[in-house]
């Protein structure tokens, strides 16, 4: 910090400080007071320690023209309006200093919060969070401090006893912002706990995207088909929102009654079918769009608001902390419907993430298991890039407070449950990279890894069954027939390669070998096929689609 002092002083001298200037300086310096939100202040010392950035500013302003010119750089002329024409170096040095000073000023302005996080066992941990940190960063931090298993389901949960609501923060969200909305006397809490629904949509996308199908079909869904679903809905040029619809109860504005209406979820918001109309798009009435609201689970609303069931959720602006007419209260018939809607709304909110801008390059998301962590963190990429140019110095209050600086040095060791053979991923090369890299490890282990069984199942799949009576037919094999496009390598500048990913089934399935694949003349001169034909497709999973097709065709011919 001496450095900062010197720089400040230098800057001051440089600028021929005046009263006004000093005042402004002070104003600028005042902001950096870490906002001492009264959120569970851990130590009484905290308030009494003045924020470090303040003193230098004071010093600077009290001494009108201090002249401690650092030896490192030649002093620029006091009045900078007449720049010495010759000294380019000076200019450069000055520019550097201004830059540095600006950065430090910015740094000092960063808002920080001391947050008490309640653990599952009732104990609590206190940590400092600054406004640039995402929930993911904080979670990584907590992984280090606790001895939990670091799986994907761990999340930070916000509870509001007054409204009887709770909500899991998304990984890409900033933590400081929503916490700043709490009132002074708030009894809200932040919990650190495992929550299965956090990434449920990635583990079992079919439950959300194919919710109309019967439960058994959903339960028996193959991993490959799940992956395909993820691919279709999350990896295209826009995130697809599940097409939910159904009857929900809406608490009428300012009234105690709940009215049933038919609701539809679209990317642009929640709509309902007005009385006497059909559910065609043009007739729908918008209940709310997702620009400014979040979705919260609501607890025990049967008692509180005479809701028809206890499966309620609400939509409200995060700032609203108390009962209000601006909250939309909705009630579902059962738990499943509630999960569907809440998750659907979460996806819809993520789908609105800004499209490509220079800072947030559009990423094609890598397929499968890693997809889920990346998708829900679209927003965080921006912050990360910015950080690259702005290394985080330790927070000023570090020595007063117990928690270490928030910069995690290493990601939590990725747990490798059933992957004995796999070497652990190499440690990321730099800290900045590492922050990006902090995302994937956790999800790795929890996503149903393609079981080895899969390969065993393949052979029967691959043998073309006897031809159908109908005529010439090649076979389309389940998911294999439609291989999802692989991730676009160019699209992934920031999403680091997933460390130790459960790889998609090894490219050349053993089955491919026995099949007499390549040596087939491309002629089709066999018995001329009858008039009815079938185009067909077999699995391109072996990489060479054409040869698979050839194989199938030959088999066919042989059988004739």
């Amino acid at each position: 910090d001496n450095d900062l002092d010197a720089l400040m002083a230098d800057l001051m001298a440089d600028l021929d400080a005046t009263e006004k200037l000093a005042a402004e300086k002070k104003a600028a310096a005042k902001d950096p007071h870490p906002t001492l939100e009264n959120l569970h202040l851990p130590s009484p010392d905290h308030a009494s320690v003045p924020a470090p950035p303040l003193p230098p500013a004071h010093r600077a302003s009290s001494v009108p023209v201090p002249t401690p010119v650092p030896t490192s750089a030649p002093a620029p002329a006091p009045s900078s309006s007449t720049n010495p024409p010759s000294a380019e170096n000076e200019e450069q040095a000055k520019a550097d200093k201004i830059k540095l000073a600006l950065e430090k000023l910015k740094e000092a302005k960063v808002k920080k919060l001391v947050v008490k996080v309640e653990m599952t066992n009732g104990s609590s941990k206190t940590l400092m969070v600054d406004e640039r940190q995402t929930v993911r960063d904080v979670l990584d931090n907590l992984f280090e401090k606790t001895h939990c298993d670091c799986n994907v389901d761990w999340c930070l949960y916000e509870t509001n006893p007054e409204l009887q609501t709770e909500r899991g923060f998304e990984d890409h969200e900033n933590l400081v912002e929503p916490l700043s909305a709490w009132t002074r006397d708030s009894e809200n809490k932040v919990l650190f706990r495992e929550q299965e629904d956090k990434y449920a949509v990635f583990k079992n996308p079919q439950n959300f995207y194919l919710w109309k199908k019967d439960k058994k079909a959903l339960k028996d869904m193959k991993d490959k088909d799940k992956e395909l679903l993820l691919e279709e809905n999350f990896c295209g040029s826009s995130i697809i929102v599940p097409d939910l619809e159904g009857a929900l109860y809406l608490k009428e504005d300012g009234k105690k009654s709940w009215k049933q209406r038919y609701f539809l979820l679209r990317a642009s918001g929640i709509y309902y079918v007005p009385k006497g109309k059909t559910k065609t798009s043009r007739d729908l009435v918008s209940l709310v769009n997702f620009d400014n609201v979040n979705v919260y689970y609501a607890k025990e609303y049967k008692a509180k608001y005479k809701a028809p069931t206890d499966f309620c959720f609400i939509l409200k602006h995060p700032q609203i902390q108390k009962e209000s007419q601006y909250i939309k209260y909705l009630c579902c018939d059962d738990h499943r419907a509630m999960t569907l809607w809440v998750t659907g709304i979460r996806v819809a909110k993520v789908s609105k993430a800004p499209i490509s801008s220079p800072l947030t390059p559009r990423t094609r998301i890598s397929r499968g298991p890693t997809a889920h962590c990346v998708v829900f963190s679209t927003g965080s990429r921006c912050t990360r890039t910015t950080r690259l140019t702005q290394p985080l110095p330790p927070p000023p209050l570090m020595d007063v407070l117990p928690p270490p600086p928030p910069d995690p040095v290493m990601p939590p060791p990725p747990p490798l449950p059933n992957k004995g053979g796999l070497p652990p991923p190499p440690p990321p090369s730099s800290v900045t990279k590492n922050r990006g890299g902090a995302l994937p490890p956790a999800p790795v282990e929890d996503f149903p890894p393609p079981p080895p069984l899969d390969d065993g199942e393949l052979p029967p799949d691959f043998m073309p069954p006897p031809p159908p009576a109908a005529g010439v037919g090649f076979y389309l094999h389940g998911g294999e027939a439609l291989p999802p496009p692989p991730p676009d390598p160019v699209g992934l500048p920031l999403a680091p390669p997933p460390p130790g990913p459960p790889p998609p089934p090894p490219p050349p399935p053993p089955v491919g070998a026995p099949a007499p694949r390549p040596v087939l003349p491309a002629k089709r001169e066999g018995p001329a096929p009858p008039k009815r034909t079938t185009p067909g497709l077999s699995a391109p999973s072996g990489g060479d689609f054409m040869s698979e097709l050839m194989v199938a065709m030959q088999k066919k011919r042989v059988q004739q």
Binding site: T18, L21, R266, H317, I320, V472
Partner: protein
Amino acid sequence: MAVWDLSVMVEELGPEAPALKVSVTSDLHVGGVILKIVQKTDIKKDWSDHALWWEQKQQWLLKPAWTLDKCGVHADARLCFTPQHKPLRLGLPNGATVSLRACFSSPVFRSIMGICRLLNIRHPEELSLLRPAEEKKKKKDTAQEELYDLTGVPLSAGLGAVVTLSDGMPAHFAESPEAEAVYKMLSVSQPAPAPETINKLYRPTSVVEKAQVNSRWLDSSRSLLQQGVQENSKLLLRFKYFSFYDLVPKVDVVRLTQLYEQARWAVLLEEIECTEEEMMLFAALQYHIGKVSLTEALVTPSPAMDDLDFALQCLEVKMDGESSGVDMLESMTAPQLHDYLKIFRPKRLTLKGYKQFWFTFKDMSISYFKSKEESFREPIQQMNLKGCEVTPDVSVANQKFCIKLLIPEPDGMNEVCLRCENEQQYSNWMAACRLASKGKTLADSSYPSEVQSIRSFLAMQRSVPGSNDAQTDESINTHSLVSPRYQKKYKAKQLTPRILESYQNVAQLSLTDAVQRFLQIWQALPDFGVSYFVVRFKGCRKDEVLGIANNRLIRIDLGVGDVVKTWRYNTMKQWNVNWDIRQVAIEFNGNVNIAFSCLTADCKIVHEYIGGYIFMSTRGKEPGETLNEELFHKLTGGHEAL
């Protein structure tokens, strides 16, 4: 071997000229016949594009080594010696018509590849050709139709890379100013159409009507001439498969523009349904795209401010240039707005009507004081606008400029109305409120442009409603941004504030981003990418609708429009077409079998749609992969392919 006379029509000899008689033997190969014809005509010209067309059999004799015998040509055959490339009038997604030379002898799929190459559209497999709807005409509008001519530009058949100039324009457009104009038409979105134009065009009103369009697709495995397309006739080029692979704004300028145009028309003509809110957002984006298209190119490098270092450098340069320390500090402390405004708070009974105060806007909050002199004291109230909702309440005609704020507070939303005196004041404060609601301060670099965009939108209101000018610099008839349903529902005056409301969320987008956002919202619509066919399922008595999308087949009740059942392709085991009874049969996992006959379109079209989508999903092993034409034909060709 016996010598006989083969009669061949040669266009070059004139329409009245009698058929040329060439004496041939049955073992003469096609190449030899052509040589004889050329010699006999005695015309010196480049005959290399010519080939023999056998009209009775509707087929081309394209294999020079085949003998006449092998081709089945006998003395009764009447052949036609004609160029393979002929001019075609092509209606583009943006409504313009371009005249170009297309290949009439190769399968349509390949002709489209050539056309797309010429127009510089990547991934031609996603597009196809449609016959235009038969017009109940009498109107001679063909005469007045503006035609862009590209027939002079050679259609290179090679597969080499298209040479592009530094600005992304392919070199073949640089040959003449006319060609350059065509490229501009292709790569820049068209100005908003006049509301009448939208009204005049055909709009499908039911799913059955939406199915009609799909009967008009050309067969991609046969040639244009085989399908009765004559020289100079008109066809429409459209994106057919809604699975847009690898869209890269930098290299896909024409593709992106035309895709946007197709999407825009689909929205305007209600070919795809959306809610009112969505329509307003589409309108706002169209307005924005129209406006920025005038000034910004789709590929210009985005302002280089993406790099913080660079931004800082700029700041330094600026500071050094002015180099007064005070300036510098000012640029670091947020600028402010001060003014006398009127405030009205609907919920507080103490304040009746609008009352005037001295207002200060700083950072992201508004404070107000009794008067300017009191402004150094504690404000009467301070409101932090971050996360608030800002809605305009403006009427230029009545000189009413209000800003409605819904400011979130712990116990609800605080409703506040600010009334400004004039446009200028309104634009400044409105822009500040909007930025603050998104967590940006007045110091943000987007502030001036935000002010500007608000003013230009106000200008829109000033323009005389009812005038049907196309989009000019500032003014636009908002009726040209929405479908006729909303033209009828709202007056232009009512529409403008609605669009303005949506506009505030998109006003800052660059052209590329705005176009992509439009496509994104379009693709997020529930009915996106579904092509309809009226079918009769086996064992059913009534007509139903089959929807074909990129990942599934949908069975839809024709009367109600409800989805009855969905089958995903990944559960599909096989599909067969019985060409004799023209029935499509599909088998899915778990012994699910369906079969249907197609009523509104030929079953080849349905077959091609399904196969085409399967093909689309096989793309993308490598980015630079060449198009697997053979596979496409295998999947879509039907019996011709085997």
